[in-house]
Symmetry: C2
């Protein structure tokens, strides 16, 4: 497999999951500063011009929740999701989907406002609200979603890779992670995992 990623982006989540699964893959960085994600070469891999993308021998998979579930299903020995329990699997998907479609989207209004408006003043207005929307999302995660010690309770899962990835953005978004003790503790324990230690130098280097 070839894993296309960009440092510091949401691709951290899939990157960690690949390591947790002991998958055999080659990681290739896409240079966002040179907008390589919009290059002719990369648009053939992912016409959406986004990362991550996972090239398999069957074809290419995009979108973080899809890649995470694929890794869990393809490497069942890593036990990254409850694969034989549709309800528990749905809970995992619901959590990942919330991160993807609500929390990541809230964050994106800080640096990707141009996706949704052309007007500079509106882009500034968007940035202004990001600390509030991110804080609301994480209040919900802290009180309603993160069961502890891992997102789904006793069993580590793909949700943990994803939560760690998005929680890293809080500080840059003007939100103190310590307001959410369970989330902050989760991030500390994630740092202790060998898979996270393996991946993060490529994203924080």
């Amino acid at each position: 497999m070839i894993f296309y990623y960009a440092p510091q982006t949401v691709s951290v989540a899939s990157h960690i999951a690949l390591e947790e699964a002991s998958a055999s893959y080659e990681a290739r960085a896409i240079n966002f500063r040179e907008t390589e994600q919009r290059s002719e070469h990369y648009l053939k891999i992912n016409p959406k011009g986004r990362v991550p993308a996972l090239v398999t021998d069957r074809g290419i998979i995009t979108e973080t929740p899809a890649i995470l579930a694929y890794i869990a299903q393809t490497f069942p020995q890593a036990q990254l999701a409850p694969l034989d329990d549709p309800f528990a699997f749905a809970e995992i998907q619901a959590f990942n989907n919330y991160l993807c479609a609500t929390v990541h989207v809230a964050h994106a209004h800080k640096v990707r406002g141009g996706r949704w408006v052309d007007d500079d003043a509106a882009i500034e207005a968007m940035k202004k609200k990001v600390p509030q929307t991110m804080a609301e999302c994480f209040a919900l995660i802290e009180t309603e979603m993160l069961r502890g010690p891992w997102v789904m309770g006793e069993n580590y899962s793909i949700c943990d890779c994803y939560l760690f990835t998005i929680a890293r953005w809080l500080e840059g978004d003007g939100v103190a992670i310590d307001q959410y003790p369970a989330v902050a503790d989760h991030a500390r324990r994630m740092r202790e995992r060998p898979a996270v230690g393996q991946v993060m130098p490529l994203h924080e280097g």
Copy 2:
């Protein structure tokens, strides 16, 4: 099961899938005009204050892609997803995720701008760009994603329920569906399905 929905919203997709699966469920409408989705009663069902939500005997599932995959997995005889093929399943998830996190989000900037800005001028600026962002999304769906006759090719799937639901929003978003002949044809064929005929009077009545 109890299916909480609101007419005309994204809950159409899960509603159709429940019918396709011949599931036994009770549909309960949430009144958005009276902001029932923010009522104390409903926030106990879904603390995110959104629809749809599916109450099962194990607990509650939220988020459209999670509900759709759950229906496909729980009613395998309906053949709404390739359940034994992780790659094909990932393709389904990637498609649904794009609708959820990119296309639905683009659309939401028309009527839910207050989620991301407080400023009235910025909300107006958001509305102005919706026809462009929705058109870009559907150009990609038309040329890169919709295989035909169904989204994933020969086999009807949960992706078709979802695409039909979101494509219905195009006209209101100022985009002519006929620019996308494959999407328009897909919508016509969806209308002929008994499950769609069953559900739509509750959403268009």
